[in-house]
Amino acid sequence: MIQIDNVVKRFPGGQEALRGLSFSVEQGEMVFVTGHSGAGKSTLLRLIALIERPTSGQVIVDGKNTRRVTRGRIPAYRRQIGMVFQDHKLLYDRSVFDNVSLPLVIAGISHRDAARKVRAALDQVGLLTKEKRNPETLSLGEQQRVGIARAIVSRPKLVIADEPTGNLDPDLSLEVMRIFRRFNEVGVTLLIASHDIALIDQLGCRRIALENGRAQIEEEDDVIYSEPFELQQERDPWL
């Protein structure tokens, strides 16, 4: 699903955020990118979201080399990816429903279908009863769940998340990860940047550690899900 091949990202001024980074993520995987602040996690996600272009190397997403995505095709490219942000990036002059429906409106989905999809997505994140609320009136955890609902409402094959639990307490962080995990279980590929090693260890997912713009280690699943993640008993989020 994602192939990062010898990617270098150098910013004006000479600062190198990524220095020959290479790794790949298979379809249906849930992978964490870890590293201290400034390690290049966010830059990597920005390259995948085509907010930035690599200085050299290749970023291939779902078979598409991002170098070949022209400026005019970027919106269509981004519509294939769900994105979750640490600061939620919600629109606070609209309701929860309107925030979540935005990707569907952009994609030209009919009002009726969009309403169904939005309610289904809100149900998945436990916010169905709050669709008319303004996001500002919700807790940080709830706002992040609105952000997740917006990311998955158009059922993308890939979701990338940049520090999605950065502003949340441990309980809410677990709740958010639980939601991600449910979507991963039905085949959604997730690439999540996080510095919360303890939380990641509880999930037992592959981890790519970045240090000074390079992948240092790759860890395979070696942790059994702990108590909050009884995923086998969870329902399929799309069913």
Partner: protein
């Protein structure tokens, strides 16, 4: 409830037909933009008022020209020649001359004003009636008032003038059209000045709306960034701003029509009174429906142009960070 939502989620999302989607998006953006303007009534009204005044100025000047042109058309007699005959020409000779000139193809009508009739008229209108009674002889000549036919060109009128002046019975010919020509030339110059002024004011409207939209774009920068981040194209993001420009232009156009209408209403009675004093039935002309539509169309067009320029210029600069 949850089960229902889940089963609904299974249904693949349907894309509406492209035309329907396009139409629905436009309706949404159109209403949404109007709602945004209504939520900021003072700022919106101020912008609309500035646009209205800017549109109303050339519209009012156009009306002035239109009415002046109409007024000049009623001065048919201003095209007449006054042929003053020599004082020794008798009334019979004058009548014969009238018949001869009237037979010309380039002449519509000839009116003979006898010396006696001219003196009576002068006595009645000059206010010197008592003084004129003391005159032993009538100093005024017989006069032929010649109206050229409508088919005449300026050159043929000049030729007619020359031929009448060369008549042995004619003392001199007074051409009354010169001041009308000057008046029409002034009107023509004013028309051009108004056209230039209207273009400059149109440019001003584009700048006003462009600046308003630019500020709106800056205020909604974060929203634009987020929308682009989740896949909105420039066209999608630009659309609401174009509708804002349209509403500003339409609002400005409507208010301009109201301002011009009120101005006419206020002028109608004094103008009628003035015309009455000159014995005229002249009534001030208002804008017809074509002109009104042109003002609305101009407002909308300039609104769209201003918002398009601002959106195209500033939208490209706003990219997700």
């Amino acid at each position: 409830m949850a089960l229902k939502a889940h089963s609904e989620a299974l249904t693949p999302a349907r894309r509406s037909s492209p035309v329907k989607t396009w139409a629905l998006l436009h309706v949404d953006n159109c209403i949404g933009s109007l709602g945004r303007l209504v939520r900021q009534p003072f700022a919106s009204l101020l912008t609309i008022l500035v646009i209205a005044v800017t549109l109303a100025l050339p519209a009012a000047m156009h009306l002035v020209i239109k009415n002046a042109t109409l007024l000049s058309r009623s001065w048919d007699n201003a095209l007449d020649f006054s042929v003053y005959l020599k004082t020794d020409v008798s009334l019979d000779e004058a009548k014969r001359l009238t018949d001869i000139i009237e037979q010309r193809a380039d002449v519509e009508i000839v009116t003979l004003i006898s010396a006696e009739a001219a003196l009576e008229q002068f006595k009645a209108e000059s206010g010197f009636g008592a003084a004129l009674d003391h005159l032993s002889t009538n100093p005024l000549p017989h006069t032929l008032v010649v109206r050229p036919s409508g088919a005449n060109t300026q050159q043929s009128v000049m030729l007619l003038n020359e031929e009448l002046a060369n008549l042995p019975e004619a003392d001199f010919v007074q051409v009354d059209t010169e001041w009308v020509q000057r008046f029409l030339a002034i009107l023509d110059m004013l028309k051009r000045a108004i056209a230039i002024g209207a273009m400059l004011l149109g440019a001003a409207i584009i700048v006003i709306i462009g600046n308003t939209i630019r500020l709106d774009i800056q205020n909604r920068r974060e929203e634009i960034e987020v929308t682009k981040l989740i896949g909105a194209s420039n066209a999608f993001v630009r659309r609401p701003f174009l509708y804002s420009g349209l509403w500003y232009g339409l609002g400005g156009g409507l208010l301009a029509l109201a301002l011009v209408g009120y101005g006419l209403y206020a002028l109608r009675e004094p103008a009628a009174r003035l015309a009455g004093l000159y014995g005229s039935s002249f009534a001030v002309l208002a804008l017809d429906w074509r002109e009104s539509l042109a003002i609305l169309g101009t407002g909308i067009g300039l609104g769209l142009a201003g918002s398009w320029l601002a959106a195209a210029r500033h939208m490209r600069r706003i990219e997700p960070r």
